[in-house]
């Protein structure tokens, strides 16, 4: 490649990074602006202030934000853990064992991705009202499981297919039961795939908005994205944009941390299903 060509590719690359990061950088900037400075059109806050953060963490909006943060973390972590455990069993069966109906199950897992979430919210709302799961943690964990399980099973079975299975047979020949071979040999080998799937499942649950606004009504279970929506309607602040931006920054922090630490794994997990499945 000539130097000139290289320069052009470089310029294009920089432009794309800016394009990808610009909105995120802008939220950070907004979150440090005082309400009076919000509209001055400058990108950088002239006089950075923690005002917005103290408003949502200790001030007037903390009643709305802090419980939401607790709910989001609790619900998403539990949903991710359960989803990974269940997907692990299912993916093992799909990648490793041969049984009638296997193709059908993988096909269903893909078909499930087709169903628009928004269309099943209403009946779920109804059911939850009747059995008392409305506005509770399990009431969100179960739908999050149904959201994350198909993709978890899909990704994980793609990972599992690449595990050297002879090791398991060797263990079985040595007298281990199927279960022992699974737990002692396969689980350690499968850990990277499971971990990657966990990150993706967490992202999906963390980003959910539809279930959050439809299946909760109080701070008992309302997650952050749904609470962010309420900020704008509330009248207790003059202009909620700064507070929303600060809350948005806080919910984005876990995502940024995970991305920076595990970017290669996440990309591998995202592409594994489509490329190798």
């Amino acid at each position: 490649m000539s130097t000139k060509e290289k320069t052009w590719w470089g310029v294009a690359g920089v432009a794309i990074v800016l394009y990808a990061l610009f909105p995120i950088a802008w939220i950070v900037s907004l979150s440090f602006k005082a309400p009076s400075a919000l509209n001055n059109g400058n990108f950088l806050p002239g006089a950075p202030t923690w005002e917005n953060y103290s408003l949502i963490l200790t001030g007037g909006a903390s009643d709305l934000f802090l419980p939401a943060l607790r709910n989001s973390f609790g619900i998403c972590l539990i949903a991710t853990a359960i989803s990974c455990l269940l997907a692990m069993f299912a993916a093992y069966a799909i990648a490793r064992l041969d049984f009638p109906g296997k193709k059908f199950i993988l096909g269903t897992a893909l078909a499930v991705a087709i169903f628009p979430v928004i269309s099943i919210v209403t009946p779920l709302f109804n059911l939850w009202r009747n059995i008392g799961l409305y506005d509770t943690w399990p009431g969100l964990i179960i739908p999050y499981l149904s959201l994350t399980l198909p993709i978890s099973i899909w990704t994980m079975s793609a990972f599992f297919r690449e595990i050297p299975w002879e090791m398991e047979q060797a263990a079985q020949v040595d007298g281990a039961t199927t279960w022992q071979a699974f737990r002692k040999v396969i689980v350690p080998l499968a850990a990277p795939g499971v971990f990657t799937t966990a990150i993706i499942a967490f992202f999906i649950a963390w980003n959910d908005f539809v279930y959050g606004i439809s299946l909760t009504s109080t701070e008992q279970a309302r997650p952050v994205p749904a609470a962010l929506g309420l900020f704008s309607g509330a009248s207790q602040f003059e202009d909620p944009t700064g507070a929303i931006a600060a809350a948005a920054v806080i919910v984005t922090i876990p995502v940024i941390v995970l991305v920076l630490l595990f970017q290669r794994r996440i990309v591998a997990g995202l592409t594994n299903g489509a490329v190798k499945g």
């Binding site: 470089g10 690359g13 794309i16 990074v17 990808a20 909105p23 995120i24 802008w26 939220i27 059109g41 269940l86 069993f89 299912a90 069966a93 490793r96 041969d98 049984f99 499930v112 991705a113 087709i114 169903f115 628009p116 928004i118 269309s119 099943i120 919210v121 209403t122 009946p123 779920l124 709302f125 739908p143 499981l145 149904s146 399980l149 002879e166 047979q169 020949v173 199927t178 980003n207 539809v210 994205p225 962010l228 929506g229 704008s232 944009t241 809350a247 948005a248 920054v249 919910v251 984005t252 995502v255 940024i256 991305v259 920076l260 970017q263 990309v267 592409t271 489509a274 490329v275 190798k276």
Partner: protein, 329 residues
């Protein structure tokens, strides 16, 4: 999709089948070729735990919603009045309403435009990723992962802000440095067409990263020798891309395009938030937000959801059939 070499999984029975210990094995009919019941049930036992939450969280509501769509079910029934069967009435009401057809047409147009733009941009960026150095690639990757992973609601605050009519940066740039005075105070959300343009910018921004990663991973699997051979034969890099690399990763492109169409058809959050930011709701509804607006009329929402499902299937059946055919080949 080329399946990895068939794993040893397909080999018949694990060694321990020969031990006729468990009582259940005696119950096995002989034609089942001496696999004990436990090992035949094993796979299903492993699947059931995952199927239970899927059934409750997805299966039940889907069936229920489908049943609703044939009933008269609204708030009155919610409070105990028995639901009456009305057959296809709900569908007739919806499908004889020109407004509903408008929503459907808009949704399909929005979905196709967005999916096409996303694919084009995504493929271009994936090619770019193969051309730049390692450091640049990681930077690109991190940037795009952030765009992909940031909670939709969080980024929506900014987008709303950028397109704000009074203080928005977009208007400011257009009116100031670019000298388009008419743009000062221009509202982007009032006109349906510019509303959709804004929504397209946002939706494409969020969906491109996934396409990039997947297509890039696909491009990496194109054997180096093929590309070199083509180069020796005098193919330009453009030709190598269009005639060689992209056709070779067609299965990957198919999957990604299919998912994009599915996702873009059911877009909800972005539209919903933009509507709340001050757009005329009725004129800007897409299928997702329209169903949401019907959610108090259970039977209508159910019927509309079923219609949406049919549209999704109609849009994707071509892809799915093609994918299955290539899978067998």
């Amino acid at each position: 999709m080329s399946a990895p070499p068939a794993p040893a999984a397909t080999a018949p029975a694990p060694p321990r089948t020969s031990a006729p210990t468990t009582g259940s094995s005696s119950a096995t009919p002989p034609r089942r070729r001496r696999r004990p019941l436990r090992s035949r049930l094993g796979p299903y036992l492993l699947l059931i735990p995952a199927l239970v939450p899927l059934g409750v969280g997805l299966g039940y509501p889907l069936v229920r919603q489908f049943v609703f769509s044939f009933q008269e079910y609204g708030l009155a029934q919610q409070f105990g009045r028995p639901a009456e069967w009305v057959g296809l009435d709900n569908y007739v009401t919806l499908l004889s309403d020109p407004y509903v057809w408008g929503v459907i047409a808009r949704s399909i147009a929005f979905c196709l435009v967005n999916a096409a733009l996303t694919m084009a941009l995504g493929i271009a960026l994936a090619v770019l990723m193969t051309k730049v150095g390692r450091a640049a690639r990681i930077t690109l990757q991190v940037g795009m992962l952030l765009a992909w992973g940031t909670p939709v609601l969080a980024t929506m605050t900014v987008w709303q802000w950028l397109f704000d009519s009074q203080y928005g940066v977009v208007n400011w740039v257009l009116a100031g440095p670019l000298g388009m005075e008419g743009q000062r105070g221009h509202s982007w959300l009032i006109e349906p067409l510019s509303f959709y343009a804004v929504a397209t910018v946002i939706v494409v921004w969020m969906s491109v990263p996934f396409v990039v990663f997947t297509v890039y991973a696909g491009l990496l699997q194109v054997p180096e020798e093929c590309m070199e051979a083509a180069q020796l034969d005098g193919a330009s890099s453009w030709q190598r891309l269009w005639r060689l690399a992209l056709p070779m990763i067609k299965p990957v492109l198919f999957v990604v395009a299919l998912l994009q169409v599915i996702w873009d058809l059911r877009v909800f959050t972005q539209i919903h938030v933009l509507q709340r930011a001050g757009a005329p709701t009725r004129e800007t509804h897409l299928l997702g937000t329209y169903i949401y607006s019907l959610s108090k009329e259970f039977s209508m929402a159910g019927a509309m959801a079923t219609i949406m499902l049919v549209i999704t299937l109609a849009l994707t059946v071509f892809y799915i059939r093609r994918m299955l055919r290539e899978d067998e080949a």
